[in-house]
């Protein structure tokens, strides 16, 4: 029997959603200050308006009286609502910028930002205000680190664990969620300091930009790369810079973003053996090397690039962008659409599998790929064994673990859900007249929160397809659990007793 959520349940969900709004009100101050600092008054006014909306909603919702602590059921609903409602308010300055045709386009861009996807329907990016660009990239950075961390950071205290689980980050790196989130922030800030310094140096010394512009480009590239987001300052993405050194620097940050925070922890502690033995590390390296070879062979077959260096550089960067689910590109989308055959297969599979769990990356995740591979290997062994024999499966992931039936089911279930998600988006794309190859590429890019495009994502794209891609980004980022919880809560609110 379904139990209707009590008014207390709804109040606690509302209260914690309000806290997320208040957190974003705090963050909104950054682009507001930037806009005032560089004298961009029109965007500045929009940021103040957004700050006001976040603040009043946050203040009103956190005022709701509750007598119960937040539990896991509330947590997942709060996350699901947060990821739906925050982009609606965060889109206000973008909507007022005049760079979008309608609110669906604006919401699409905000969802794409917060889910760290990077697909965009913004028009005339090359004339966009600096502060608005900062806001788009900041959205990706915050989305990458998770609303969860922001909320925990702002002292939600014990409720943080419930929120974290619902976002698919089940493993506490440190004993408590608050220390875990502080560690995540620390890793991010160290990478920010190093990454921005390196990118600034490259922009200033090698690319010949002015110091101010170098700092701006460095910050934006860092936000988009570490969050594996993929937004860019100019319409030609990272191809704008024409610099292999900058691509290498960005590549390092993209890899850092796609690495799980557990792996970061092991490396910080210099536990190299542990880092190498982790199932997820092995799984990611295996798929990376295999699919890179497939993509490179495919590109060679097509003969797209003349010369070994061109082949290696262009092939590697787009592939790295795909597997880390970043979405930067150094070639136009029309050129990417010409990557057919094996190159297409390698790129799409890399996007679909994505990065590691407990990272800013999207996709199925290397841990699930590793677990699924272990289960399949075990099943094929079982065929050759006497009936009834039991083969224990163990794996190393932050310590020795035994694969239980529940873990195997969960890994394979989520993997299947991702595949289903990719296929639904592909089907809708085909229904709108796009080729199977283009529709599959774009759908996987949206569902895996990648952001590479073969040209379907465009201001003139069909609205229904746009909504489907938005759902894909949202589901892909939250890994389905939050969606099921939200639907369950809504259903029980209607049909429960």
């Amino acid at each position: 029997m379904l139990t209707r959520p009590s008014s207390d349940d709804l109040r606690i969900i509302g209260q914690f959603t309000g806290r997320i709004f208040l957190a974003f009100a705090g963050v909104s101050v950054l682009p507001l200050v930037a806009a005032i600092g560089v004298g961009e008054w029109a965007p500045g006014g929009s940021f103040l308006l957004m700050l006001g909306v976040f603040a009043i909603l946050g203040a009103a919702l956190t005022r709701l009286p509750t007598s119960r602590p937040l539990d896991i059921r509330h947590g997942v609903v709060v996350v699901a609502l947060g990821w739906l409602l925050v982009p609606a308010v965060a889109a206000i300055p973008l909507a007022l910028s005049g760079h979008f045709s309608d609110f669906i386009d604006v919401y699409f861009d905000a969802v794409s930002g917060l889910t760290t996807t990077g697909l965009s329907v913004l028009q005339d990016l090359d004339h966009l205000a600096l502060s608005l660009n900062l806001w788009r990239h900041l959205l990706q950075f915050l989305g990458g680190l998770g609303i969860v961390v922001v909320a925990v950071w702002l002292s939600v205290g014990g409720a943080g664990l419930a929120l974290s689980r619902s976002e698919g980050r089940e493993d506490k790196i440190l004993p408590s969620i608050s220390s875990t989130s502080r560690f995540i922030w620390r890793v991010s800030l160290v990478h920010m300091a190093v990454g921005v310094a390196v990118l600034f140096g490259v922009s200033f010394v090698f690319l010949g930009f002015t110091s101010g512009r170098s700092l701006f480009h460095a910050l934006m590239i860092f936000f988009a790369a570490f969050s594996t987001g993929g937004f860019s300052v100019q319409s030609t993405s990272l191809g704008y810079y024409h610099s292999p050194i900058l691509e290498a620097a960005a590549g390092g940050i993209m890899l850092a973003g796609t690495m799980s925070f557990q792996l970061h922890f092991a490396l910080w502690r210099r536990r190299f053996r542990e880092a190498v033995r982790n199932l997820e590390t092995r799984s990611f390296l295996t798929t990376f090397v295999t699919l890179l070879v497939v993509t490179m062979v495919g590109l060679a077959t097509l003969g797209t690039y003349h010369g070994i260096l061109g082949h290696a550089r262009q092939g590697l960067f787009q592939f790295l962008s795909a597997h880390t689910t970043t979405g930067f590109s150094t070639v136009p989308s029309s050129e990417l659409a010409g990557w057919t055959g094996l190159a297409f297969a390698g790129m799409v599979t890399a996007m679909a599998l994505g990065g590691m769990a407990a990272s800013t990356a999207g996709g199925v995740k290397a841990l699930r790929v590793g677990l699924t591979a272990k289960v399949l290997k075990n099943e094929s062994k079982r065929v050759m064994m006497p009936p009834g024999s039991v083969i224990p499966i163990g794996y190393f992931q932050d310590g020795h673990r035994r694969m239980t039936v529940e873990v195997a089911h969960a890994a394979m279930f989520i993997t299947l859900l991702y595949l289903g998600l990719y296929l639904v988006g592909t089907g809708v794309g085909i229904a709108y007249g796009y080729s199977l190859q283009d529709a599959l590429f774009e759908s996987v890019s949206a569902g895996g929160t990648v952001g590479l495009s073969v040209g379907i994502t465009d201001p003139s794209m069909p609205v229904v397809l746009q909504i489907v891609y938005m759902c894909e980004m949202w589901l892909g980022r939250l890994e389905f659990l939050a969606f099921f919880a939200l639907i369950g809560t809504l259903w029980s609110a209607v049909r429960g007793r």
């Binding site: 014990g158 290498a248 922890f265 082949h311 790295l320």
Partner: protein, 78 residues
């Protein structure tokens, strides 16, 4: 560090108003807290560890670049 705060809050919520000594999970003798904390993982401070992570990441980029180049060379030969 951070972990203790959360655990205490949780325990306080679960144990209600019980006297401190009756809450089984907490240390009952002076010095036990330090002993228990020894086995626990602590928040690492940024230092040479951070540098190690960054070096590993850039080494990985260099490694995959070499791999890509090697594959490009091999496929160009064939």
């Amino acid at each position: 560090m951070g972990g203790i705060g959360f655990e205490r809050r949780q325990i306080t919520a679960e144990a209600g108003a019980k006297p401190r000594r009756q809450r089984g999970a907490l240390p009952t003798r002076p010095g036990m807290a330090r002993k228990n904390a020894r086995g626990r993982r602590r928040l690492p401070s940024p230092g040479s560890g951070a540098l190690v992570v960054v070096c590993v990441e850039f080494a990985l980029v260099a490694a995959v670049a070499v791999l890509a180049l090697a594959v490009a060379v091999v496929v160009s030969v064939f």
